[in-house]
Symmetry: C2
Subunit: 166 residues, 2 copies
Amino acid sequence: MKNLRKFIPLAIATVVVACHNSPLNTPDKDKSASLPTDSEHVFARGEKVNNPNFTGGAVWLNNLVNADSLNQNAVGVVTFEAGARTKWHTHPAGQIILAVDGEGYYQEEGKEKVVVKKGEVMKCPADVPHWHGASAHSHFVQIAITGREKGETVWLEEVNDEVYTK
Amino acid sequence: MKNLRKFIPLAIATVVVACHNSPLNTPDKDKSASLPTDSEHVFARGEKVNNPNFTGGAVWLNNLVNADSLNQNAVGVVTFEAGARTKWHTHPAGQIILAVDGEGYYQEEGKEKVVVKKGEVMKCPADVPHWHGASAHSHFVQIAITGREKGETVWLEEVNDEVYTK
């Protein structure tokens, strides 16, 4: 029985460790490494955005629906890595933002920046300058519903770090 | 060592079992019991719908966004249990459906019924009679984006089982 008491805790500890996923002990230098994988989301992350209307980090876009003669709304999934943000901009027919993962920031001109969490919904009024993006410490995934019946998004100046972190 | 060999497999088996969630061995008589819980979804299931425009099973609605002066679109999450469906209906400004969980059916008048899976997107043209709902063997969760600028949904006749199962 003495041998038994000595070995059972070791056997239990071995199996408990085996029950957990082994964390890969790699330094997280790439912020996008902390993004959820496509399999964790209903919609794929889409293509990396390569244009100057987004700054501060990487952004991905999956255009789910383009506006056409059947429907004037465009619907897209936008994934911002931590720190990434849009430029200030306006939508001639407004926009609805559904926050589907992570934590973001949203600010309208003349108002305080607000923190937007997964499960929350924002409505951007038509022609009001605003910006949105990921918070400084979390990725942010949004479904954006944008009416195209009055024209395209109007892009304005960059959101600098002073505004972003305020 | 003889004692040790006898007890270690038992200790390991005990811990392996403890690592898994214990399934509750209850019969699944209630179809809604197989619906995902709110914690598995970004948006809550909302209130049970109690009106004759939905038949064949239980339906839940979470109105995320109401149409107003800022935006003419309404956005809602609709959860259909297996077998539940809308009546035939039309939208004066069309509708976009994002399938976010389970498997559904969608049919426009004069066309074949199509199976809609999680991650797929449908566009219902304005004024075209159609119906949608869960498939016969799976719940279905959709985000519906409905323009209200040309009026409300027009409800038509019920989708009978012959049409539904065809």
